[in-house]
Protein backbone atom coordinates (compact mmCIF):
# COMPACT_ATOMS: atom_id res chain seq x y z
CA UNK A 1 0.00 0.00 0.00
CA UNK A 2 1.42 3.32 -1.09
CA UNK A 3 0.72 6.74 0.26
CA UNK A 4 1.41 10.39 -0.50
CA UNK A 5 2.01 13.43 1.60
CA UNK A 6 -1.13 15.45 2.20
CA UNK A 7 -0.45 18.81 3.78
CA UNK A 8 -3.10 20.59 5.79
CA UNK A 9 -2.19 23.80 3.96
CA UNK A 10 -3.74 22.38 0.80
CA UNK A 11 -7.25 23.06 2.02
CA UNK A 12 -6.71 26.86 2.11
CA UNK A 13 -4.13 27.03 -0.66
CA UNK A 14 -4.61 29.68 -3.33
CA UNK A 15 -4.29 27.03 -6.02
CA UNK A 16 -7.32 25.21 -4.63
CA UNK A 17 -9.19 28.49 -4.42
CA UNK A 18 -8.24 29.09 -8.07
CA UNK A 19 -9.60 25.70 -9.11
CA UNK A 20 -12.81 26.33 -7.19
CA UNK A 21 -13.21 29.56 -9.08
CA UNK A 22 -12.35 28.12 -12.49
CA UNK A 23 -14.34 24.91 -12.22
CA UNK A 24 -17.17 26.44 -10.18
CA UNK A 25 -17.38 23.52 -7.80
CA UNK A 26 -17.07 22.78 -4.14
CA UNK A 27 -13.71 23.15 -2.43
CA UNK A 28 -13.97 19.81 -0.69
CA UNK A 29 -14.75 18.10 -3.97
CA UNK A 30 -11.69 19.73 -5.52
CA UNK A 31 -9.53 18.39 -2.70
CA UNK A 32 -10.93 14.93 -3.31
CA UNK A 33 -10.34 15.08 -7.05
CA UNK A 34 -6.78 16.24 -6.50
CA UNK A 35 -6.09 13.34 -4.18
CA UNK A 36 -7.56 10.90 -6.65
CA UNK A 37 -5.23 12.37 -9.31
CA UNK A 38 -2.16 12.10 -7.12
CA UNK A 39 -2.95 8.56 -5.95
CA UNK A 40 -3.29 7.59 -9.61
CA UNK A 41 0.02 9.34 -10.25
CA UNK A 42 1.77 6.99 -7.83
CA UNK A 43 1.16 4.15 -10.23
CA UNK A 44 1.21 5.98 -13.53
CA UNK A 45 3.65 8.90 -13.36
CA UNK A 46 7.42 8.55 -13.24
CA UNK A 47 9.44 9.92 -10.35
CA UNK A 48 9.47 13.37 -11.96
CA UNK A 49 5.72 13.38 -12.48
CA UNK A 50 5.84 12.88 -16.23
CA UNK A 51 2.55 11.53 -17.52
CA UNK A 52 3.76 11.01 -21.09
CA UNK A 53 1.02 11.10 -23.68
CA UNK A 54 -1.82 10.83 -21.19
CA UNK A 55 -4.91 12.40 -22.67
CA UNK A 56 -7.17 14.92 -20.99
CA UNK A 57 -9.89 12.29 -20.77
CA UNK A 58 -7.57 9.80 -19.11
CA UNK A 59 -6.52 12.42 -16.60
CA UNK A 60 -10.16 13.30 -15.91
CA UNK A 61 -10.97 9.62 -15.36
CA UNK A 62 -7.97 9.36 -13.08
CA UNK A 63 -9.23 12.25 -11.00
CA UNK A 64 -12.82 11.02 -11.08
CA UNK A 65 -13.84 14.16 -12.95
CA UNK A 66 -16.63 13.94 -15.57
CA UNK A 67 -15.00 12.90 -18.84
CA UNK A 68 -17.14 15.17 -20.94
CA UNK A 69 -15.62 18.12 -19.07
CA UNK A 70 -12.08 16.76 -19.23
CA UNK A 71 -10.60 19.55 -21.33
CA UNK A 72 -11.83 22.27 -18.97
CA UNK A 73 -10.58 20.28 -15.96
CA UNK A 74 -7.09 19.76 -17.33
CA UNK A 75 -6.82 23.34 -18.49
CA UNK A 76 -7.79 24.56 -15.03
CA UNK A 77 -5.15 22.30 -13.46
CA UNK A 78 -2.56 23.77 -15.81
CA UNK A 79 -3.65 27.35 -15.11
CA UNK A 80 -3.31 27.01 -11.36
CA UNK A 81 -0.17 24.90 -11.90
CA UNK A 82 -1.18 21.62 -10.35
CA UNK A 83 -0.20 20.19 -13.75
CA UNK A 84 2.49 21.54 -16.05
CA UNK A 85 2.47 21.40 -19.83
CA UNK A 86 5.89 20.40 -21.15
CA UNK A 87 7.32 19.35 -24.51
CA UNK A 88 6.96 15.70 -23.46
CA UNK A 89 3.36 16.11 -22.38
CA UNK A 90 1.63 16.68 -19.07
CA UNK A 91 3.65 16.70 -15.88
CA UNK A 92 2.37 16.61 -12.29
CA UNK A 93 3.71 19.81 -10.73
CA UNK A 94 6.61 19.51 -8.31
CA UNK A 95 5.94 15.77 -8.14
CA UNK A 96 9.42 14.67 -7.18
CA UNK A 97 9.43 16.83 -4.03
CA UNK A 98 6.13 15.47 -2.77
CA UNK A 99 5.86 11.93 -4.10
CA UNK A 100 8.68 11.21 -6.52
CA UNK A 101 11.37 10.88 -3.88
CA UNK A 102 9.13 8.56 -1.92
CA UNK A 103 8.64 6.51 -5.05
CA UNK A 104 12.39 6.45 -5.62
CA UNK A 105 12.99 5.35 -2.06
CA UNK A 106 10.39 2.61 -2.41
CA UNK A 107 11.87 1.45 -5.68
CA UNK A 108 15.32 1.31 -4.11
CA UNK A 109 13.94 -0.61 -1.17
CA UNK A 110 12.16 -3.02 -3.46
CA UNK A 111 15.35 -3.63 -5.36
CA UNK A 112 17.25 -4.16 -2.10
CA UNK A 113 14.68 -6.68 -0.93
CA UNK A 114 14.83 -8.50 -4.23
CA UNK A 115 18.60 -8.70 -3.94
CA UNK A 116 18.32 -9.98 -0.37
CA UNK A 117 15.78 -12.61 -1.38
CA UNK A 118 17.85 -13.58 -4.34
CA UNK A 119 20.85 -14.13 -2.11
CA UNK A 120 18.74 -16.20 0.29
CA UNK A 121 17.13 -18.44 -2.26
CA UNK A 122 20.26 -20.41 -3.16
CA UNK A 123 20.69 -21.26 0.55
CA UNK A 124 17.16 -22.51 0.71
CA UNK A 125 17.69 -24.50 -2.41
CA UNK A 126 20.82 -26.03 -0.98
CA UNK A 127 18.89 -26.95 2.14
CA UNK A 128 16.21 -28.58 0.02
CA UNK A 129 18.79 -30.55 -1.86
CA UNK A 130 20.11 -31.89 1.44
CA UNK A 131 16.73 -33.44 2.23
CA UNK A 132 15.82 -36.16 2.69
CA UNK A 133 18.90 -37.24 4.53
CA UNK A 134 20.33 -40.10 2.59
CA UNK A 135 21.08 -42.20 5.65
CA UNK A 136 17.55 -42.00 7.02
CA UNK A 137 14.76 -43.90 5.33
CA UNK A 138 11.81 -41.91 4.16
CA UNK A 139 9.13 -43.14 6.50
CA UNK A 140 6.36 -41.58 4.51
CA UNK A 141 6.94 -44.19 1.82
CA UNK A 142 6.26 -47.90 2.34
CA UNK A 143 9.34 -50.01 2.08
CA UNK A 144 9.62 -51.76 -1.22
CA UNK A 145 9.18 -55.53 -1.06
CA UNK A 146 8.31 -55.35 2.60
CA UNK A 147 5.60 -57.49 4.07
CA UNK A 148 2.80 -55.84 6.00
CA UNK A 149 4.17 -57.13 9.28
CA UNK A 150 7.66 -55.92 8.49
CA UNK A 151 6.34 -52.46 7.79
CA UNK A 152 4.98 -52.25 11.28
CA UNK A 153 7.68 -53.71 13.49
CA UNK A 154 7.06 -53.87 17.18
CA UNK A 155 9.38 -51.77 19.24
CA UNK A 156 11.14 -54.16 21.52
CA UNK A 157 11.97 -52.97 24.97
CA UNK A 158 15.49 -51.61 24.81
CA UNK A 159 16.75 -53.25 27.95
CA UNK A 160 19.89 -55.28 27.89
CA UNK A 161 20.18 -58.88 29.09
CA UNK A 162 22.55 -57.84 31.87
CA UNK A 163 19.83 -55.68 33.33
CA UNK A 164 17.42 -58.60 33.20
CA UNK A 165 19.94 -60.75 35.05
CA UNK A 166 20.40 -57.97 37.56
CA UNK A 167 16.74 -57.69 38.45
CA UNK A 168 15.92 -61.42 38.33
CA UNK A 169 16.77 -62.06 42.01
CA UNK A 170 14.28 -59.44 43.09
CA UNK A 171 11.51 -61.31 41.29
CA UNK A 172 11.85 -64.93 42.38
CA UNK A 173 8.35 -65.95 41.35
CA UNK A 174 8.71 -65.13 37.67
CA UNK A 175 11.27 -65.61 34.95
CA UNK A 176 12.16 -62.06 34.06
CA UNK A 177 13.51 -63.00 30.63
CA UNK A 178 10.25 -64.71 29.72
CA UNK A 179 8.23 -61.80 30.97
CA UNK A 180 10.42 -59.49 28.94
CA UNK A 181 9.90 -61.56 25.79
CA UNK A 182 6.18 -61.68 26.43
CA UNK A 183 6.04 -57.94 27.03
CA UNK A 184 7.95 -57.26 23.84
CA UNK A 185 5.57 -59.40 21.83
CA UNK A 186 2.43 -57.97 23.30
CA UNK A 187 3.06 -54.28 23.55
CA UNK A 188 4.57 -51.44 21.65
CA UNK A 189 6.75 -49.56 24.03
CA UNK A 190 7.38 -46.39 22.07
CA UNK A 191 5.11 -44.36 24.30
CA UNK A 192 6.89 -45.29 27.49
CA UNK A 193 9.54 -42.83 28.53
CA UNK A 194 11.26 -45.02 31.08
CA UNK A 195 11.42 -48.44 29.47
CA UNK A 196 12.87 -50.16 32.50
CA UNK A 197 10.14 -48.81 34.68
CA UNK A 198 7.58 -49.95 32.14
CA UNK A 199 9.11 -53.41 32.22
CA UNK A 200 8.97 -53.26 36.01
CA UNK A 201 5.25 -52.70 35.85
CA UNK A 202 4.84 -55.60 33.47
CA UNK A 203 6.81 -57.82 35.80
CA UNK A 204 4.55 -56.66 38.61
CA UNK A 205 1.52 -57.82 36.66
CA UNK A 206 3.17 -61.15 35.95
CA UNK A 207 3.97 -61.59 39.63
CA UNK A 208 0.43 -60.80 40.51
CA UNK A 209 -0.78 -63.42 38.05
CA UNK A 210 1.43 -66.04 39.68
CA UNK A 211 0.48 -65.05 43.18
CA UNK A 212 -2.62 -62.87 43.30
CA UNK A 213 -2.26 -62.29 47.01
CA UNK A 214 1.40 -61.51 46.87
CA UNK A 215 3.22 -58.26 46.43
CA UNK A 216 3.37 -56.48 43.16
CA UNK A 217 6.31 -54.54 41.96
CA UNK A 218 4.41 -51.29 41.98
CA UNK A 219 1.63 -51.48 44.52
CA UNK A 220 -1.41 -49.49 43.65
CA UNK A 221 -2.01 -46.33 45.59
CA UNK A 222 -3.78 -47.16 48.78
CA UNK A 223 -2.81 -50.81 48.70
CA UNK A 224 -1.95 -52.36 51.99
CA UNK A 225 1.48 -51.57 53.32
CA UNK A 226 4.03 -54.33 53.41
CA UNK A 227 4.64 -55.74 56.82
CA UNK A 228 7.98 -55.35 58.52
CA UNK A 229 8.88 -58.99 57.90
CA UNK A 230 8.00 -58.71 54.24
CA UNK A 231 10.18 -55.66 53.90
CA UNK A 232 13.08 -57.34 55.64
CA UNK A 233 12.64 -60.48 53.56
CA UNK A 234 12.66 -58.39 50.45
CA UNK A 235 15.93 -56.76 51.41
CA UNK A 236 17.43 -60.08 52.45
CA UNK A 237 16.64 -61.45 49.00
CA UNK A 238 18.12 -58.38 47.41
CA UNK A 239 21.26 -58.57 49.53
CA UNK A 240 21.61 -62.27 48.81
CA UNK A 241 21.34 -61.64 45.11
CA UNK A 242 24.11 -59.08 45.36
CA UNK A 243 26.27 -60.90 47.83
CA UNK A 244 29.44 -59.20 46.66
CA UNK A 245 28.68 -55.54 46.81
CA UNK A 246 31.02 -52.94 45.46
CA UNK A 247 33.67 -51.63 47.76
CA UNK A 248 31.67 -50.20 50.59
CA UNK A 249 34.26 -47.96 52.00
CA UNK A 250 35.93 -46.10 49.22
CA UNK A 251 36.76 -42.80 50.72
CA UNK A 252 35.51 -39.83 48.89
CA UNK A 253 34.88 -37.02 51.25
CA UNK A 254 35.00 -34.01 48.98
CA UNK A 255 36.90 -30.97 49.90
CA UNK A 256 35.08 -27.96 51.13
Amino acid sequence: MSWIESHQSLSRHKKVAGLVALLKTDRLKIIGHLHELWWWGLDNADVDGNLGDTSNEALAIAACWPVKDAKRFVEALIVVRFVDQSERGLVLHNWYAYAGKLMAARAANKERMQRARASHVPNTERARVALPYPTVPNRTQPLANASKAARRPRARLPVDPEYLKEIQPAHPTVNVCEVYADASNRKTWDGYKDKRRALGKYIGWAEEKVNPNGRTNTPARGSSRSSGDEINDSWKRYAAAHAKPDQAGHSARPDG
Partner: protein, 162 residues
Protein backbone atom coordinates in the same frame (compact mmCIF):
# COMPACT_ATOMS: atom_id res chain seq x y z
CA UNK B 1 15.96 -33.28 65.92
CA UNK B 2 18.36 -34.04 68.70
CA UNK B 3 19.28 -37.43 67.33
CA UNK B 4 23.00 -38.05 67.54
CA UNK B 5 25.49 -40.85 67.85
CA UNK B 6 25.84 -39.98 71.51
CA UNK B 7 22.23 -40.72 72.35
CA UNK B 8 22.04 -43.75 70.10
CA UNK B 9 21.14 -46.95 71.90
CA UNK B 10 23.31 -49.61 70.31
CA UNK B 11 21.88 -52.91 69.23
CA UNK B 12 23.55 -55.82 67.47
CA UNK B 13 21.15 -55.68 64.52
CA UNK B 14 21.92 -52.05 63.87
CA UNK B 15 25.64 -52.12 64.56
CA UNK B 16 26.60 -52.20 60.88
CA UNK B 17 24.23 -49.34 60.11
CA UNK B 18 25.78 -47.35 62.94
CA UNK B 19 29.29 -48.00 61.68
CA UNK B 20 28.39 -47.19 58.07
CA UNK B 21 26.83 -43.87 59.09
CA UNK B 22 29.86 -42.99 61.16
CA UNK B 23 32.06 -43.78 58.16
CA UNK B 24 30.03 -41.52 55.93
CA UNK B 25 30.11 -38.76 58.53
CA UNK B 26 33.87 -39.01 58.78
CA UNK B 27 34.39 -39.23 55.03
CA UNK B 28 35.60 -42.80 55.03
CA UNK B 29 32.60 -43.95 53.00
CA UNK B 30 30.64 -42.01 50.47
CA UNK B 31 27.22 -43.51 50.97
CA UNK B 32 24.93 -45.45 53.19
CA UNK B 33 21.75 -47.13 52.11
CA UNK B 34 19.88 -48.11 55.23
CA UNK B 35 17.11 -50.50 54.33
CA UNK B 36 14.72 -52.49 56.37
CA UNK B 37 11.58 -52.41 58.36
CA UNK B 38 10.35 -49.30 60.09
CA UNK B 39 11.13 -48.02 63.52
CA UNK B 40 14.58 -49.48 64.00
CA UNK B 41 16.45 -46.21 64.03
CA UNK B 42 17.54 -45.61 60.45
CA UNK B 43 16.49 -41.98 60.46
CA UNK B 44 18.10 -41.47 63.87
CA UNK B 45 21.41 -42.67 62.50
CA UNK B 46 21.10 -40.55 59.37
CA UNK B 47 20.48 -37.41 61.40
CA UNK B 48 23.30 -38.36 63.74
CA UNK B 49 25.61 -38.58 60.72
CA UNK B 50 24.45 -35.16 59.57
CA UNK B 51 25.20 -33.75 63.01
CA UNK B 52 28.60 -35.37 63.02
CA UNK B 53 29.34 -34.14 59.48
CA UNK B 54 29.13 -30.46 60.19
CA UNK B 55 26.93 -30.06 63.21
CA UNK B 56 23.89 -29.69 60.92
CA UNK B 57 25.31 -26.54 59.37
CA UNK B 58 25.88 -27.55 55.78
CA UNK B 59 24.14 -30.88 55.42
CA UNK B 60 20.61 -31.37 54.25
CA UNK B 61 17.89 -33.69 55.40
CA UNK B 62 15.02 -34.42 53.04
CA UNK B 63 12.04 -36.66 53.39
CA UNK B 64 11.80 -37.85 49.80
CA UNK B 65 8.03 -37.27 49.44
CA UNK B 66 8.38 -33.75 50.85
CA UNK B 67 11.41 -33.04 48.71
CA UNK B 68 9.61 -34.08 45.53
CA UNK B 69 6.64 -31.96 46.46
CA UNK B 70 9.00 -29.01 47.02
CA UNK B 71 10.64 -29.58 43.64
CA UNK B 72 7.24 -29.71 41.94
CA UNK B 73 6.09 -26.53 43.66
CA UNK B 74 9.21 -24.59 42.73
CA UNK B 75 9.36 -25.88 39.18
CA UNK B 76 5.70 -25.77 38.24
CA UNK B 77 3.97 -23.30 40.56
CA UNK B 78 6.76 -20.79 40.94
CA UNK B 79 8.18 -21.25 37.44
CA UNK B 80 11.77 -21.82 38.55
CA UNK B 81 13.86 -23.71 35.99
CA UNK B 82 14.07 -27.33 37.07
CA UNK B 83 17.84 -27.33 36.74
CA UNK B 84 18.08 -24.46 39.20
CA UNK B 85 16.27 -26.57 41.74
CA UNK B 86 18.16 -29.78 41.16
CA UNK B 87 21.68 -28.68 40.30
CA UNK B 88 22.67 -27.50 43.80
CA UNK B 89 21.90 -30.97 45.08
CA UNK B 90 23.82 -32.61 42.27
CA UNK B 91 26.89 -30.53 42.86
CA UNK B 92 26.62 -30.65 46.61
CA UNK B 93 29.74 -31.25 48.54
CA UNK B 94 27.85 -31.55 51.76
CA UNK B 95 26.13 -34.58 53.13
CA UNK B 96 22.53 -35.06 52.09
CA UNK B 97 20.11 -37.49 53.66
CA UNK B 98 17.18 -38.75 51.62
CA UNK B 99 14.82 -40.25 54.13
CA UNK B 100 12.02 -42.69 53.28
CA UNK B 101 13.01 -43.42 49.72
CA UNK B 102 10.20 -45.32 48.04
CA UNK B 103 7.50 -43.76 50.20
CA UNK B 104 6.81 -41.12 47.58
CA UNK B 105 3.92 -41.30 45.17
CA UNK B 106 6.06 -42.54 42.36
CA UNK B 107 5.35 -41.14 38.96
CA UNK B 108 7.70 -41.42 36.03
CA UNK B 109 8.58 -37.76 36.41
CA UNK B 110 9.28 -38.03 40.15
CA UNK B 111 11.34 -41.17 39.68
CA UNK B 112 13.35 -39.47 36.97
CA UNK B 113 14.16 -36.41 39.07
CA UNK B 114 15.15 -38.54 42.01
CA UNK B 115 17.32 -40.68 39.80
CA UNK B 116 18.95 -37.64 38.21
CA UNK B 117 19.97 -36.24 41.58
CA UNK B 118 21.13 -39.50 43.09
CA UNK B 119 22.96 -40.51 39.93
CA UNK B 120 24.74 -37.16 39.76
CA UNK B 121 25.72 -37.42 43.41
CA UNK B 122 26.98 -40.92 42.82
CA UNK B 123 29.09 -39.73 39.91
CA UNK B 124 30.39 -36.83 41.97
CA UNK B 125 31.11 -39.16 44.89
CA UNK B 126 29.08 -36.79 47.00
CA UNK B 127 28.28 -38.13 50.46
CA UNK B 128 24.74 -39.38 50.61
CA UNK B 129 22.68 -41.34 53.07
CA UNK B 130 19.45 -42.96 51.96
CA UNK B 131 16.97 -44.64 54.20
CA UNK B 132 14.09 -46.78 53.03
CA UNK B 133 11.51 -48.91 54.72
CA UNK B 134 10.05 -50.09 51.45
CA UNK B 135 10.63 -53.48 49.83
CA UNK B 136 13.63 -53.55 47.51
CA UNK B 137 11.36 -54.20 44.54
CA UNK B 138 9.68 -50.89 45.12
CA UNK B 139 12.87 -48.92 44.55
CA UNK B 140 14.44 -47.94 41.28
CA UNK B 141 17.00 -50.67 40.54
CA UNK B 142 19.28 -48.06 38.97
CA UNK B 143 19.50 -46.27 42.29
CA UNK B 144 19.97 -49.52 44.20
CA UNK B 145 22.73 -50.51 41.86
CA UNK B 146 24.62 -47.28 42.45
CA UNK B 147 24.21 -47.20 46.19
CA UNK B 148 24.59 -50.93 46.78
CA UNK B 149 28.07 -50.27 48.11
CA UNK B 150 26.58 -48.69 51.19
CA UNK B 151 23.68 -51.10 51.64
CA UNK B 152 23.12 -52.09 55.22
CA UNK B 153 20.24 -54.29 56.28
CA UNK B 154 18.48 -52.82 59.28
CA UNK B 155 16.66 -55.72 60.85
CA UNK B 156 16.25 -54.45 64.37
CA UNK B 157 12.94 -54.39 66.19
CA UNK B 158 10.69 -51.36 66.20
CA UNK B 159 12.19 -49.00 68.78
CA UNK B 160 9.01 -46.99 68.94
CA UNK B 161 7.30 -49.97 70.56
CA UNK B 162 9.78 -49.96 73.37
Amino acid sequence: MDDSFENWEPSPEMQRAYEQCRMVASGEARCALLAGSFGNGKTHLAIAALREWDNLNTGWFYKVPDWLSMVKRRAFDEGEPLDNVLTPLMEGRSLIVFDDLGAENSTDWAAEQLYRVLDARYDAKAPTIITSNQPAERLDPRILSRYRAGLVMCLGKDRRDA
